[in-house]
C-alpha cells in the first residue's frame, strides 16, 4: 500500500521550542471567549449573600421574614435550613499530620462568625438586583467577641482565641532542619538577625469568582460552572460537602479570567449555590463583587519571620535559623496549611548550608483565609534568604556577588538535598548570575551609582538569586506531609478516522495558553500539523481525571503525560504502518507525519483510517488509535534564576522608581518561548506589586481596609519598569521533556531583587530594615528617622 497524498515533502512538525501564536487569542480579542458569568441557563435564579459585618461574634438570631417578602425573592436560607448531609463542612486538601484536625467551616456560618465577610445567609431572587435589595432586609443579631488580627500577637499567650480549642491560636508548630544551630552560631565569626514581614497580598484576578449550579432532578446530577484551576478537586470536595456522589457531579470551568492560585480550592459560595439549586430545582448563579473578592477570596503570604545566619570569616554560611508565624486566616483553606511548611523547605535557597533550624507556627486570626498565591511559599523563602544574605554581606563587608558565589550549591552537587528536606533536581547558578550581571552591566552601574551618590542622589542596585520547586511530585514525599491531592497528571489522546487528534488533559488553564503549548507537544510527537490537534480541558465529563493547574506543573506533568500518550499512539501507529507496508518496524521511518519504507509511504491520516477500520491489523492489535498516559513525577523540578533591579528614590517624597530590571530565568527546556516570557512578565509585575504597592490589611477591629481597586494597588501600566528578560537552559532530569516550569518564577525572584535594591540605596544612609510594601511614606519616614 503506497500513498500518493503523502509523497510530497511534508512541512516540519517540530513545534516544541517555537513561539507558536496562541490559538486562544482570537476568542478573547473578539469578546467571544466564554467566562463563567457569560453562561445563562433557562430559569436561572440569582444569589446574593448576607455577610458578617463583624470579625468575631456569636450569632444570636437571624431574621429573614422581611427579606422573604421583598419583590422577586424566591427564598432566603441560613445554615439552619440545611443538614450536614445537604451542606456539610468544606474539606481541605492539605492537613499536616501533626494538626489537631481543622476547625469546622460551614458554607453558611453556624452559631458564630470568624471574619468580616463570612457568609451568614443567602437570598435567592429572580434577578440579581432583587436579590441584592433583599439582603438589606435580613437582620442578624450578634454578640461581639474579642478580635485578633496580628499574626504574631495571635500566637502568644493571652491573645483572644479564634477557635476555643486551639491554644495560642496555633494550628500547628512544624519543625524542619538538621544539625545544631546553637553550637554553630556560638562558634561562628558572624551572626546576623532580621525580622521580616511578608505582608498579605491578594491575587485579585480581573475576573472575580462566579458559581452557577444546575441540579437536574430527573437524573439526580449536579452541574457546577465556575472559574477554577482544578475541576476535579472541586468535584471531589463538593461531593463530600453536599453528599452527591462524584459520578453524578459535573464541574465545568470555561475560560478563567486569571487565577494565580486564588481559584484552587472549593469556596463556601460554590457549596451554597449547589445546595440551593438542589433544594429549589432551578439553576442558581452567584457572581462575586470586587468587594466580596477582597474580603472573601483567599489571599496569600502573610508571614512574620525571624531569620538568623551564622557564617565564618570568609562569609561561608554555616547555619540558618528561622521562626515563622504564618497567618492561616480564620479557617484552613484548601492547601493553606501546607504552604508555610513547603516555604520552610526552601529557606536555604541556592546556598549550600549544612545546618538549619526552622520552626513554623500556623496561626489562626480573625481574617479571611490564606491560600496558594503565585509562588505559594517560594516567594516568602526567596525573600527571606536573599534579604538575609544581603544583610550578611553588609555586616561582613564581603561583596554580595562574591558572597553568593562562595555559598552557591555547585552544578556537580545535583540532585542536591538541602538541610530542610527539599531536593533540587538541577541548577547552574553561576551561569545565570553571570548572564544577568552582563545584561545589566553591573560594574558600570555600580560606578554610575557612586557618581550619582556623590551628587546627593539616592540610588541602589539589588539582586536576588532564587531557586524554587515546581511540578508537585513526588507523591510519596507529599503524602508524608499530608498533601491530599494527587501529584500525577493524565492525558488521553484519540485519533479520529480523519486523522484529527483530540487530547483530553487534566489541567485547567487560566490564561497560560495550554491549549497551544500542549498542542505543540502532541503535534511534535505525532508529526502532525498543529491545527489538527485539539486540546480539551476543564470539564469533568470530558476529562474524567486530573489534578489541575498549579505549582507551574502544567508542562512538566500534563505536558509530559500528553507526550507519553502520544508516544504510545506512535508505537501503535508504527506497528500498524509497518504491517500495512509489509516491512519490519525497525525498517520504517517516520518523519513529519509520514511513515515510509524505501519509496513507499503512508500518511498519518491513512494509518488512522486503517486503525479505525480495524480490518487489516497486525495480530492481536485492537482497533483505534486511542491511548492514555498517567505521569507521576518522580521528583520536583527546580527552576532558578537571577533578578536585578536598579532603583532611585526621590528624597523629597520617598517615591521609588525602578530604572532597570533584568530577569534571567532558567525553567529548563522551553516549549514556547513567547509564552514563557509572558509568564515571567506577569510574575514580575505581581512581585513588584507586592514589593512596592500591594497590601491587604485589616484594622484592629478586623475591618478590612482594602475592599476595592481604590485602596488595593495592583500595578498599572505606568507603574512598572521595562523588563529585560533572558534565559539560561538547564534541562530538568526528572521528566522526559526536560521542562521545569515558569509560571511563578517571576513572582519569586522579583520581590527580593527590588527590596534589596532599595535597601542598597538606604542602608548607607542608616536605614536598617524596610518591610513591604515600600510605600513612599515608609521610605521617607525611615530616611528621616535615620538622618536624626
Amino acid at each position: 500500500m503506497t500513498s500518493v497524498a503523502a509523497s510530497h515533502q511534508a512541512a516540519s512538525t517540530n513545534y516544541v521550542g517555537e513561539s507558536v501564536p496562541r490559538r486562544e487569542d482570537f476568542r478573547f480579542l473578539t469578546g467571544t471567549g466564554t467566562f463563567s458569568e457569560d453562561i445563562k441557563l433557562a430559569g436561572m435564579l440569582h444569589a446574593s449573600l448576607v455577610r458578617s459585618t463583624l470579625a468575631h461574634a456569636d450569632i444570636l438570631t437571624i431574621e429573614t421574614e422581611a427579606a422573604r417578602a421583598q419583590p422577586g425573592v424566591v427564598a432566603v436560607f441560613t445554615a439552619a435550613d440545611f443538614g450536614d448531609d445537604e451542606m456539610g463542612t468544606i474539606p481541605t486538601d492539605w492537613t499536616l499530620p501533626i494538626m489537631d484536625g481543622i476547625p469546622d467551616r460551614y458554607p453558611l456560618a453556624r452559631n458564630a462568625v470568624k471574619y468580616v465577610g463570612e457568609p451568614v445567609a443567602v437570598v435567592i431572587a429572580e434577578t440579581r438586583a432583587q436579590a441584592d435589595d433583599a439582603t438589606h432586609f435580613v437582620d442578624v443579631d450578634y454578640v461581639e467577641r474579642p478580635v485578633v488580627v496580628d499574626t504574631e500577637a495571635a500566637a502568644h499567650e493571652g491573645a483572644p482565641l479564634v477557635h476555643d480549642r486551639y491554644e495560642r491560636n496555633t494550628s500547628y508548630l512544624w519543625h524542619l532542619g538538621t544539625g545544631d544551630w546553637e553550637a554553630v552560631a556560638a562558634a561562628a565569626d558572624h551572626v546576623i538577625d532580621l525580622r521580616l514581614v511578608n505582608q498579605r497580598v491578594h491575587a485579585s484576578s480581573l475576573e472575580a469568582r462566579v458559581s452557577l449550579a444546575d441540579f437536574q432532578i430527573g437524573t439526580g446530577t449536579l452541574t457546577l460552572y465556575l472559574g477554577t484551576q482544578n475541576v476535579h478537586v472541586v468535584r471531589r470536595n463538593l461531593s463530600i460537602a453536599i453528599g452527591i456522589p462524584e459520578n453524578r457531579i459535573r464541574v465545568v470551568t470555561p475560560a478563567v479570567g486569571g487565577a494565580f492560585g486564588s481559584k484552587l480550592c472549593l469556596y463556601p459560595e460554590d457549596v451554597i449555590v449547589s445546595a440551593v439549586s438542589r433544594r429549589l430545582r432551578r439553576p442558581v448563579r452567584w457572581a462575586e463583587s470586587r468587594a466580596e473578592h477582597f474580603t472573601g477570596t483567599s489571599g496569600g503570604r502573610d508571614h512574620v519571620e525571624y531569620v538568623s545566619l551564622a557564617a565564618d570569616k570568609q562569609g561561608k554560611i554555616q547555619a540558618l535559623k528561622v521562626t515563622t508565624y504564618a497567618n492561616l486566616g480564620a479557617y484552613v483553606s484548601g492547601m493553606g496549611a501546607g504552604i508555610p511548611v513547603v516555604s520552610g523547605m526552601m529557606f536555604p535557597g541556592v546556598y549550600d548550608i549544612a545546618v538549619a533550624d526552622v520552626d513554623i507556627h500556623g496561626v489562626f486570626t480573625n481574617t479571611s483565609t490564606t491560600e496558594t498565591y503565585r509562588g505559594a511559599g517560594r516567594p516568602e523563602a526567596a525573600y527571606l534568604i536573599e534579604r538575609a544574605v544581603d544583610e550578611l554581606a553588609a555586616k561582613t563587608g564581603i561583596d554580595r556577588i562574591e558572597l553568593r558565589r562562595r555559598n552557591f550549591i555547585q552544578p556537580d552537587q545535583f540532585p542536591y538535598a538541602n538541610a530542610t528536606g527539599m531536593t533540587y533536581d538541577s541548577g547552574d547558578y553561576e551561569k545565570a548570575l553571570d548572564k544577568a550581571l552582563e545584561m545589566i552591566g553591573w560594574d558600570e552601574l555600580l560606578a554610575e551609582h557612586e557618581a550619582a551618590r556623590s551628587r546627593g542622589r539616592i540610588v541602589g542596585l539589588g539582586l536576588s538569586v532564587y531557586t524554587e520547586f515546581c511540578g508537585f511530585g513526588d507523591s510519596h514525599q507529599l503524602q508524608l506531609v499530608g498533601f491530599d491531592r494527587a501529584t500525577w497528571e493524565q492525558s488521553v489522546i484519540t485519533v479520529t478516522r480523519t486523522g484529527s487528534v483530540i487530547v483530553q488533559v487534566g489541567i485547567d488553564a487560566a490564561g497560560q495558553g495550554h491549549e497551544t503549548s500542549i498542542a505543540q507537544i502532541v503535534a511534535t510527537e505525532l508529526g502532525v500539523a498543529i491545527d489538527d490537534v485539539e486540546v480539551l480541558q476543564g470539564d469533568t465529563d470530558i476529562v474524567h481525571f486530573g489534578t489541575g493547574t498549579f505549582n507551574s506543573r502544567s508542562m512538566s506533568s500534563a505536558g509530559t503525560s500528553a507526550a507519553l500518550a502520544a508516544r504510545k499512539i506512535m508505537a501503535k501507529a508504527n506497528r500498524l504502518a509497518a504491517h500495512l507496508l509489509d516491512v519490519d518496524v525497525k525498517d520504517l521511518v517516520h518523519a513529519n507525519g509520514v511513515f515510509s519504507a524505501g519509496s513507499r509511504q503512508l500518511s498519518f491520516e491513512e494509518v488512522a483510517v486503517e486503525a479505525w477500520r480495524g480490518v487489516d491489523l497486525p495480530d492481536g492489535m485492537e482497533p483505534t488509535l486511542k491511548e492514555i498516559a498517567v505521569f507521576d513525577p518522580p521528583a520536583f523540578t527546580s527552576p532558578f534564576g537571577v533578578h536585578i533591579a536598579a532603583v532611585e528614590i526621590d528624597p523629597d517624597t520617598g517615591a521609588i522608581t525602578i530604572d532597570r530590571y533584568v530577569a534571567v530565568d532558567d525553567c529548563g527546556n522551553l516549549v514556547n518561548p513567547k509564552l514563557a516570557n509572558g509568564q515571567i512578565h506577569g510574575g514580575v509585575a505581581q512581585g513588584i506589586g507586592q514589593a512596592l504597592y500591594e497590601s491587604l490589611a485589616w484594622d484592629e477591629d478586623g475591618q478590612p481596609m482594602a475592599t476595592s481597586f481604590m485602596q488595593y494597588a495592583v500595578p498599572r501600566a505606568h507603574q512598572l519598569p521595562r523588563l529585560e528578560t533572558g534565559h539560561t537552559i538547564t534541562p530538568s532530569p526528572v521528566n522526559p521533556l526536560g521542562v521545569k516550569g515558569v509560571g511563578e518564577s517571576g513572582a519569586i525572584g522579583s520581590q527580593p531583587a527590588v527590596v534589596n535594591a532599595v535597601m542598597d540605596a538606604v542602608r548607607r544612609r542608616g536605614v536598617e530594615n524596610l518591610d513591604m510594601p515600600l510605600t513612599p511614606a515608609k521610605v521617607w519616614s525611615e530616611l528621616k528617622e535615620a538622618a536624626k
Binding site: 487569542d25 480579542l29 473578539t30 469578546g31 475576573e207 479570567g257 470586587r290 468587594a291 498599572r716
Partner: protein, 176 residues
C-alpha cells in the same frame, strides 16, 4: 414627558423606561430599569457578553465600550442614558482581514499582549480611541493612556509594545 408625575415616592419593583439607540450599527428599542447599568444591560438584556465586569468602582476598564465614538466605562453609565446614542462594543469591532481581526487586535495577538483575556476587550476599546491620533505614540503616552485599564496577567509590556508599534506603523490611523 411625564415630568409632572414625578414624585419622591420610591419606585416599587420594576420601573421601566423606554430607550432607543444604535448598538453596533443596529437600531435597538427596548425598556430597561433606570438603575440598570449599561454593562448589565449589554450583558444580560442584549446578550453581548464580550464586555466584562472587573471591579465595580470604575477602576479597571474591563467594561469599556464606545459611546458616541468615545471610550467610556459602561459600569459607570446608566442604560437609560444611551437613549438616542450610538454604542459600540467589542462585538462591533471588525477588521478587514479574513479572520476579522482589527489591526489593534492583530497587534495584541502578534505581541502576546493578552493572557487570560478578561481585560482584553476593554483594552481593545480603549486602544482604538488612544490610537485615533495622527502622531505616533510614545511608550509613555500609551502607558498613560492605559491608566484606566487593569491587566493582572501580562505586566502590560507586550500590550504597550503592540500599541506603540502599531501607532508607529500606521501613525495611529485605525479603520473605524
Amino acid at each position: 414627558m411625564a415630568h409632572d408625575a414625578m414624585t419622591t415616592e420610591r419606585p416599587a419593583g420594576s420601573h421601566r423606561v423606554a430607550i432607543s439607540y444604535t448598538l453596533n450599527g443596529e437600531p435597538v428599542s427596548c425598556e430597561t430599569d433606570p438603575r440598570t447599568l449599561l454593562v448589565h444591560h449589554l450583558r444580560e438584556e442584549r446578550n453581548l457578553t464580550g464586555t466584562h465586569i472587573g471591579c465595580d468602582t470604575s477602576q479597571c476598564g474591563a467594561c469599556a465600550v464606545h459611546l458616541d465614538g468615545r471610550a467610556v466605562k459602561s459600569c459607570t453609565v446608566l442604560a437609560v442614558q444611551v437613549d438616542g446614542c450610538e454604542v459600540t462594543t467589542i462585538e462591533g469591532v471588525r477588521g478587514q482581514e479574513a479572520d476579522g481581526l482589527h489591526p489593534v487586535q492583530e497587534a495584541l495577538r502578534r505581541k502576546h499582549g493578552l493572557q487570560c483575556g478578561f481585560c482584553t476587550p476593554g483594552i481593545v476599546m480603549t486602544a482604538l480611541e488612544l490610537l485615533d491620533s495622527d502622531e505616533p505614540l510614545t511608550t509613555e503616552e500609551v502607558q498613560h493612556g492605559l491608566v484606566g485599564n487593569i491587566c493582572r496577567c501580562t505586566g502590560y509590556q507586550n500590550i504597550v509594545d503592540a500599541l506603540v508599534e502599531l501607532s508607529a506603523s500606521e501613525s495611529g490611523s485605525t479603520d473605524d
